[in-house]
C-alpha cells in the first residue's frame, strides 16, 4: 500500500515537474516544445553536411530521454531540456523547424556507434568530450561545462562548498571518479552505494549529509523533488566539457556548428535556452566555454606502466591509514561499550533476582548463537524502521558490534567469576556486604586476572569482526581494501596483504598483552 502510494506520488511529482518544465520552456504555449527561430532558406556550399540536411528539411538528433533538465521525454513523447534546445537552435539555423526533427534516444553505451552508422546526424546528449571518444567521433563545442557538485537536503545550510564536507558522510557510487575525488581531495567520509538513486534515501534520513556526482545528474534529482533537495552551490569543482557529437573529421560541419554556438551566445538564445530548462535548478546561467577550434592531435593515452607489486600499498598508504584509524575507532568504542555492558550482563547472570538472571541468559544465548551479520542487519536496517535513526552509519555499526561482543564478554566474565572460590563471596556476605559490593570489591577484582586473556581474544575477534561494518556502508579498513582491490585489479593480492598488515598492527600487540598477562597470572598462583 505504502509502496504503491510512494510510486504514485513520485510519478505525480515527475509529471508535474515535466509539466512545469514544458510550460516554462514554451513560454505559455500549449505545446510542450519551444519553437526557436527557423532560418528562411539558408544557403550552404554544395556537398556540405549543412547543405544536405538543409535541403532534406529534416535532421535526426540523438539525445538522452531520461536526463531531467537536459534531455527527458515529456508527456507528448517529445524530449525537453537544454540539450534539446541546443539541437533545435542548430536545426533552426539549417532551416529545419522543430517538428521536423527526429529525436532518437541515445545512451552512454551507443553514442559513438550511432554516429558511425549514420543513425543520427548529431548527438546532443550530456556527451563528455574525451580523447577516447575523439578517436571515434568529432565534437563541436564544448557548449557547456558540467562538473562535480554536491546535493544536500533543502534545509541544509552548513554545506556550500566541497571543503565543507570534510569528515562528513557523503554518498556516491562505489568506485566512481567523483567518489574518489570527494574522499581524497576533500576528506569526506564516503558512504558508497550502487546507484545514485540509492543515495537518495540515506540523504533524506540524514545518514549522509550530501550526495556527490556531476551537477547535471544532481540537478535532475532536484528537479524531481525540489522541496526535498537542493544543490549546495551552482559552482562545480571539476570540469566536464559537453560537446556535440558528429561524424569524425567532418571539420566543415564542426566549424559551422561552433560558429552557431558563438552566435547563440551573442544573441542571447543560449542564455534563454538555459533559463527555460536547466536554469530552473542551476540558477546561475553558464557562459559559453571557449570553443575548441583546432582539431589538435590529442596526445596518445599514456600506457599504464606495470607496477611493482608493493607499490599499490605504498601509493595508497593514506587510505590504508585512514581505514586503519576508522577500524581502530570502531573497535575501541565498541570494545569499551561491550566491556561495560558485558560485565553488567555477567553480574545479572549471578544476581539474586531471577528475572535478571533470565534476561542475561536469554540475551547471551541468543546473541552467541546468531551470526554477526544479523546483528548488523538489525542495527542498520531494522532499528531505523522502528524509528531509531542514526546520524551516521558508524553508530549502527557500533551498536551491532558492542551488542554482539558483550555476549561473549559476559560469558568470559562469568567463567572468571566462577573461578573465584565461593568462600570468598560467603565471607564477604557474612560481614554484611550487599550483592553489589560483594561483586565489585571481592569477586570481580579476583576474576579479572583469569578473565583478561580470554577477554583479549574476544577483543581481537572484535577487531576482525569490525570488517563486517564495511558491508553496511561504513568505510573502514576492509571497506577501503575492497575499493582498492576494485581499482587495482592487477594487484589484488598486494592490496589484501596491505589490509592484513594493518589488521595485524592492532591484533598482534593485543595478543602479546594476552600472553604477558597469562604469564603474570600463572606466577601469581
Amino acid at each position: 500500500m505504502t509502496a504503491f502510494m510512494t510510486r504514485r506520488k513520485s510519478l505525480l511529482v515527475a509529471a508535474s515537474a515535466a509539466l512545469a518544465l514544458s510550460l516554462s520552456a514554451c513560454g505559455g504555449s500549449s505545446t510542450s516544445t519551444s519553437n526557436p527561430p527557423v532560418a528562411e532558406k539558408p544557403s550552404f556550399a554544395a556537398d556540405t553536411t549543412m547543405a544536405k540536411l538543409s535541403s532534406a528539411g529534416k535532421i535526426v538528433i540523438g539525445t538522452k530521454f531520461d536526463q531531467p533538465l537536459f534531455g527527458q521525454k515529456g508527456l507528448d513523447g517529445k524530449p525537453v531540456g537544454f540539450d534539446v534546445e541546443m539541437g533545435k537552435l542548430i536545426a533552426g539555423k539549417l532551416g529545419i523547424p522543430a517538428d521536423k526533427i527526429e529525436w532518437k534516444e541515445t545512451v552512454s553505451a551507443n553514442r559513438e556507434q550511432f554516429i558511425k552508422n549514420g543513425d543520427v546526424d548529431i548527438i546532443v546528449a550530456t556527451y563528455t568530450i574525451n580523447d577516447k571518444r575523439k578517436a571515434e567521433v568529432s565534437f563541436a563545442g564544448p557548449y557547456y561545462e558540467a562538473g562535480q557538485a554536491l546535493m544536500v537536503n533543502k534545509d541544509n545550510t552548513s554545506i556550500t562548498k566541497p571543503e565543507d564536507v570534510k569528515g562528513k558522510n557523503v554518498c556516491s557510487v562505489t568506485g566512481s571518479t567523483p567518489a574518489a575525488t570527494i574522499v581524497e581531495k576533500y576528506g569526506a567520509v564516503l558512504v558508497p552505494a550502487a546507484t545514485y538513486s540509492a543515495c537518495l534515501e540515506p540523504l533524506r534520513n540524514k545518514q549522509v549529509e550530501a550526495i556527490t556526482t556531476d551537477n547535471v545528474i544532481l540537478a535532475g534529482f532536484v528537479a524531481k523533488e525540489p522541496d526535498a533537495f537542493k544543490l549546495a552551490s551552482d559552482q562545480t569543482f571539476t570540469k566536464e566539457p559537453y560537446g556535440i557529437g558528429l561524424k569524425k573529421d567532418d571539420t566543415v560541419f564542426r566549424n559551422w556548428i561552433n560558429d552557431q554556438l558563438e552566435a547563440f551566445d551573442k544573441d542571447g538564445s543560449y542564455k534563454k535556452a538555459w533559463e527555460a530548462t536547466a536554469g530552473t535548478v542551476i540558477k546561475t546561467a553558464p557562459t559559453l566555454p571557449a570553443i575548441n577550434r583546432h582539431s589538435r592531435l590529442s596526445a596518445p593515452l599514456p600506457l599504464r606502466q606495470p607496477k611493482e607489486p608493493m607499490d599499490v600499498i605504498i601509493e595508497n598508504l593514506p587510505q590504508y591509514w585512514d581505514g586503519f584509524l576508522r577500524t581502530l575507532f570502531l573497535s575501541v568504542v565498541s570494545g569499551i561499550i561491550a566491556l561495560i555492558f558485558g560485565t553488567i550482563l555477567a553480574a545479572a547472570r549471578v544476581s539474586p533476582i531471577a528475572a535478571l538472571r533470565g534476561f542475561s541468559m536469554t540475551y547471551v544465548e541468543i546473541v552467541r548463537n546468531t551470526p554477526l551479520t544479523i546483528a548488523f542487519f538489525f542495527a542498520a536496517v531494522v532499528l531505523p524502521r522502528l524509528g531509531v535513526t542514526f546520524q551516521q552509519f558508524e553508530v549502527a555499526a557500533i551498536i551491532a558490534l558492542s551488542a554482539y561482543t558483550s555476549a561473549f564478554i559476559a560469558e568470559a566474565v562469568r567463567s572468571g567469576v566462577n573461578s573465584v572460590p565461593v568462600g570468598q563471596a560467603e565471607a564477604a556476605r557474612s560481614i554484611g556486604m550487599k550483592f553489589s559490593q560483594v561483586l565489585s570489591l571481592i569477586i570481580l577484582p579476583q576474576a579479572l586476572r583469569t578473565v583478561i586473556p580470554p577477554m583479549i581474544n574476544i577483543l581481537i575477534a572484535l577487531v576482525k569482526n569490525s570488517s563486517v561494518a564495511g558491508a553496511f556502508y561504513v568505510l573502514e579498513l576492509f571497506g577501503y581494501g575492497r575499493q582498492l582491490a576494485n581499482a587495482n585489479g592487477d594487484a589484488v593480492l598486494w592490496v589484501l596483504v596491505g589490509v592484513a598488515f594493518f589488521y595485524l598492527l592492532i591484533t598482534v600487540p593485543l595478543g602479546y598483552v594476552a600472553t604477558v598477562v597469562e604469564r603474570k597470572v600463572a606466577i601469581a598462583r
Partner: protein
C-alpha cells in the same frame, strides 16, 4: 528497646526445617542461645552442623520455622539482611580471607564499606584487633604469605571488626596443622572469657570443657542432646552420643 532480661535469647531457632532436595538436613531444630553464652555444637560429619551455622546468618535459606537474632526475624534479602548479618560474625573452616587484599584491608573492608567508618578510624581499630589476635606485624602482607593459624586469627579479627553480637565458628581448626590449633583456640577462649556470645562447631573437647556453657549434640539433622560439657562428656544420654564419643576418644 525491649527490656534485656538476663536469660533472653540472643539467637533463637524455632521449629526450623531445611531440605536439600530429598535430604532433610535440619529437622525441627529448636535452639536458644543467651547473651554471653558459649555453645559448642558437636556431631558426626554430615549431621547438619555447618548447615545450622549457615542458616543462622542466612547464607542458606530455610524451608520453615523462625530464626531470630536479638529478637529480630532474619529478613529475606537486601539491605536489612546485610545489616543483620553484620551482627553475626562468621569464621569458616577454610578462613576465606580475601585473597587480593592485605591483612589490614581484610579487616578494614567491612567497617569502611558496610559501616561507613573512615579509613583512619578503621585502620586504628583493625590494628588493635590484629594485635589482640597476635598478628599485628603481618598487617601489610597478603593472606597467602601467612600460615593457616595466622590466617584463621586474621579471619577472627575480620569478623570482630564488625562488632558482632554473636560469633559463629564452623570447625575453625579442622583445616589447621596440629601445632597451630592451640593458637587459634587460645584466641577463642579469650573471646569467650570477655563475654562474647559464641556458637562453635568443633570437635576440640578441650575447648568445650574450658569455654563452653553448653554442648549441643547433633545427629542426622536433629538436636539429640543439649547439656553442660561436664554432663555431656561424662554421662551422655543417647546411644548415638555415646557411640560418637567413644570413636572420638580413640583418636
Amino acid at each position: 528497646m525491649t527490656t534485656q532480661v538476663p536469660g533472653d535469647a540472643l539467637v533463637s531457632l524455632n521449629a526450623v526445617n531445611k531440605h536439600y532436595g530429598q535430604l532433610h538436613v535440619l529437622k525441627d531444630i529448636n535452639l536458644n542461645v543467651r547473651k554471653g553464652e558459649v555453645v559448642v555444637v558437636i556431631g558426626p560429619s554430615g549431621s547438619g552442623k555447618s548447615t545450622l551455622c549457615r542458616a543462622i546468618n542466612r547464607l542458606e535459606t530455610i524451608d520453615d520455622g523462625v530464626i531470630k537474632i536479638d529478637g529480630k526475624v532474619l529478613p529475606e534479602e537486601g539491605k536489612e539482611l546485610a545489616k543483620l548479618r553484620a551482627d553475626v560474625g562468621m569464621v569458616f573452616q577454610s578462613f576465606n580471607l580475601f585473597a587480593h587484599k592485605t591483612i589490614l584491608e581484610n579487616v578494614t573492608l567491612g567497617p569502611i564499606k558496610v559501616k561507613g567508618l573512615s579509613k583512619t578510624e578503621a585502620d586504628k581499630d583493625a590494628m588493635a584487633l590484629l594485635e589482640r589476635v597476635g598478628v599485628g606485624h603481618q598487617a601489610p602482607k597478603l593472606p597467602a604469605q601467612l600460615s593457616g593459624g595466622q590466617q584463621q586469627r586474621v579471619a577472627i579479627a575480620r569478623a570482630l571488626a564488625m562488632k558482632p553480637k554473636v560469633m559463629l565458628f564452623d570447625e575453625p581448626t579442622s583445616a589447621l596443622d596440629p601445632e597451630m590449633i592451640n593458637e587459634v583456640l587460645d584466641v577463642m577462649i579469650q573471646l569467650a572469657k570477655e563475654g562474647m556470645t559464641m556458637i562453635v562447631v568443633t570437635h576440640e573437647m578441650g575447648f568445650a570443657r574450658k569455654a563452653a556453657d553448653r554442648v549441643v549434640f547433633m545427629a542426622d539433622g536433629q538436636i539429640v542432646e543439649d547439656a553442660t560439657p561436664e554432663e555431656f562428656f561424662t554421662n551422655p544420654k543417647s546411644s548415638r552420643a555415646k557411640d560418637f564419643l567413644s570413636k572420638l576418644l580413640t583418636h
